[in-house]
């Protein structure tokens, strides 16, 4: 079970979502991806996509206007 960080700070839609999709594709089942974002629309579309794909995820507000989305690859 490995953990990988993905720095998407300063990036706007749709870049964080596409980078998340690519990064998750390179992981194996059980691995965890931590995506750092500061674009509020990515806070909506990344979890939406992860939920649709059936991965486990959690959002945490780490500072004003900055979030971490933790995604566990389930399949």
């Amino acid at each position: 079970m490995a953990q990988q960080n993905l720095d998407c700070l300063g990036e706007a839609c749709p870049v964080p979502l596409i980078r998340t999709q690519k990064a998750l594709a390179g992981l194996v089942v059980g691995d965890v991806l931590v995506v750092e974002i500061d674009h509020s629309c990515a806070m909506k579309n990344i979890p939406e996509w992860a939920g649709k794909e059936g991965h486990n995820f959690e959002i945490e507000e780490v500072a004003d206007g900055q979030w971490e989305i933790v995604i566990e690859k389930t399949h």
Partner: protein, 188 residues
């Protein structure tokens, strides 16, 4: 500026934790809520100014005013005489479109501050700067060729029962498709 006292900080934290405050000002609204509110505001705008919402025509005015300030003579241009003669009678503070654009910027800042999500973002790379400038130029130029952006030529056009909104829509999707391909290929 005075540091916030622990008491005022806790008051703000309590307000932010309030469910009504959260639902209205922190969490994103649903698309339907947003659509209904936008439709109501656009109707109010049409009733009060006689024109539905548009954004980019005023950008052309801003550019022309800047050019005029530098000594140019945009008032002689065909575009402002034949396409947008309204420009000749307007100034920065009497153009409703300009005031609405400023309102959008101030409103977005206010919404961001109230949600506690204001943050100055860093520029990640020179490539990001090039992408932003290129994208802005393409969108601005395209919006002038089409006599409007997705607001004036789509959002305001279709409810006005104008055919041009329906013509604009498929071509806007073509542009968005090409633009995202370019973004993924060269700027990621």
């Amino acid at each position: 500026m005075a540091e916030p006292t622990p008491q005022s900080a806790s008051v703000f934290a309590a307000v932010r934790a309030n469910d009504t405050f959260k639902a209205l000002l922190v969490n994103p609204w649903t698309y339907v809520t947003g659509a209904v509110v936008l439709a109501m505001f656009n109707s109010a705008l049409l009733a009060s100014t006689g024109k539905a919402w548009g954004v980019t025509t005023s950008f052309a005015y801003w550019g022309a005013w800047a050019w005029e300030a530098l000594g140019g003579n945009p008032r002689s241009w065909l575009y402002f005489n034949e396409v947008k003669p309204a420009f000749l009678k307007l100034s920065f503070f009497t153009d409703p479109g300009t005031l609405i654009n400023l309102g959008v910027i101030v409103g977005a800042l206010l919404a961001c501050l109230l949600a506690g999500q204001f943050k100055i973002k860093r520029l990640k790379s020179n490539r990001q700067i090039v992408a932003a400038i290129l994208g802005g130029l393409l969108m601005g130029f395209g919006a002038r060729l089409a006599f409007g952006c997705n607001i004036g030529s789509l959002f305001s056009a279709i409810p006005s029962m104008s055919l041009h909104g329906w013509v604009f829509m498929p071509f806007m999707f073509c542009g968005a498709f090409l633009g995202s391909r370019l973004l993924v290929k060269y700027f990621m």
